[in-house]
Symmetry: C2
Subunit: 322 residues, 2 copies
């Protein structure tokens, strides 16, 4: 067996979002040696996107080609399938249908490619290099425009039989509740605990309370950042928006805990900038809905990594996964 | 390395319930060579129980001692902890606190002992020898007096960081809903989808519909079997009891599917004797609450094994687990 010099190996991690794509060349220590970004949405066909990615990445790779060994590419993307290396019916990408993305990447770059969905990539990144280092059982929730999740159990991502496990943002937290703007399901976690959901809650509540500071803003300006500002100034309605959101989130987390009994839940994304306004009610309602054997055991932890970095690191780590 | 003759190996599987304990001597093919049962609840101390179990099992073991090699004991018990080999705070056993059960068993029998909770043991039994043979991702729900569950992901039981994962009967399906008679939580699945929950629903609904056949029975006779009989005779109220139960169960299953994306959900226990009365609404409400990528993929399957056998087989298989 040939000896492998780990310090020489690098991988490319790619984080594909609806609008932008970020990438990084990463070593085994989780150091991002090179970084770049490009648009996702300006490419009608995935082949053109991959062509442009190759152009963007090549100069960075060239810088290290004499010193490093390029082992492969890991991709985190919406609706990416780990088993099949595909992107399937992703509602927020322009590429429709089932795209054999890993195959296209390998054809262009000449190295192996592994794929997973964006939230899974971020969870894996946290386990390898972030706040979840050393943990074998945790759940990562990304609370941004939507609500994504990655579930680690026994040190491994849960993929399920078809590679689509871990869609916790779409679990129903209030049966018959708020209709989701895109999926149409009623009462899903994402409808309440995403930035989009918080804005909806805020608009409803400010209509009920004419005295609220939230009424000082035009309709289109209402977002979770504005609600946070008003909450900091002591506006009871804004505080109630986060309390209500935290209640829904906490109830959902309790159910997740009784499913996989994680040691921690990592929270990630723009929504958690509201800090204790959302964290305290979340914790309260999580604990309240847990069986006693689960109480006061599960830590709620904020992510340590930059959001884009987590996915880049996690995606690249897939290349070396055993 | 010495060659191992698998056909000669046997293990003891023990299924401990609140009232009765069943055991069997099992071979690698999942054949129960010997079977027995004893009371659980007549022993105040676990040591006395183990003493009596030894007395009960010994004659059976003796029959095979010249031909077979006794490899160990697997135990399924309420609140059993896989990692620690303990039974912890089991509400329906007389033995309080944390009992080092596996250690006590090994001391008495002189062989290794592995433990898991009763629902996990049944799920493992189904995977090794029952309706889930060949499946790597499924969820088993036992719908009896209570609602138990075992979750298999990637061919392994999900235990979580502390060994207590898979308490799906206690997940909240209706926030602020029916108070659970024992845990006190509000709106848990068990409060609706257990035999106990069905009896509560039936008593409420028959009070609303004086014409219902359910009113022909005295209060204490109302149970899921009676509701099933009335449903078969076409009583709309009895049919509605199962429809409502199936709705709650289906909503819960949808959430479980979006967590671990199983290929099937195995249903097990007395409640499923109601057949299509409960299965059809369960399926309907599960599908209705799933994201499109999960729809029409997950099979709802009835268990193939006898209830006690599943747990005995699963517990014994733990002994040979890799």
């Amino acid at each position: 067996m040939a000896l492998v010099d780990l310090s020489k190996q690098v991988a490319l991690g790619v984080d594909i979002g609806g609008t932008n794509t970020k990438f990084g060349i990463v070593n085994h220590r989780g150091e991002i040696l090179e970084k770049g970004r490009m648009r996702t949405d300006s490419f009608e066909h995935p082949e053109d996107f991959i062509e442009a990615l190759y152009e963007a990445v090549s100069p960075h790779l060239a810088k290290h080609s004499s010193q490093k060994q390029f082992d492969g590419i890991g991709v985190g993307a919406p609706n990416a399938n780990y088993y099949r290396g595909t992107i399937e019916q992703a509602p927020n990408l322009r590429w429709k249908g089932v795209i054999p993305f890993a195959e296209l990447i390998t054809k262009k770059f000449g190295v192996p490619c592994k794929m997973t969905n964006d939230a899974n990539a971020a969870a894996y990144g946290e386990m390898m290099f972030g706040a979840a280092r050393g943990m074998k059982d945790f759940i990562m929730m990304t609370l941004g425009t939507g609500v994504g999740s990655g579930i680690i159990s026994g040190g491994k991502l849960i993929y399920g039989h078809d590679g689509f496990a871990g869609e916790l943002g779409h679990t129903i937290v209030k049966p018959g509740g708020r209709k989701h703007w895109s999926t149409g399901s009623e009462g899903s976690l994402e409808a309440y605990a995403s930035a989009t959901g918080i804005a909806i809650t805020a608009k409803k509540m400010r209509a009920e309370f004419p005295d609220s500071m939230l009424n000082d803003y035009p309709e289109e300006a209402i977002n979770s950042k504005v609600v946070h500002e008003c909450a900091k100034k002591g506006d009871p309605t804004a505080i109630e928006v986060f309390r209500y959101t935290g209640q829904k989130l906490g109830e959902a987390l309790a159910n997740f805990v009784m499913f996989s009994s994680p040691e921690a839940i990592l929270l990630f994304g723009g929504v958690i900038k509201a800090g204790d306004f959302i964290l305290k009610p979340t914790k309260l309602h999580m604990e309240r809905n847990l069986l006693p054997i689960f109480r006061n055991k599960v830590r709620l932890v904020f992510s340590e990594l930059d959001e884009a970095d987590a996915a880049i690191l996690g995606a690249s780590a897939l290349v070396w996964e055993k």
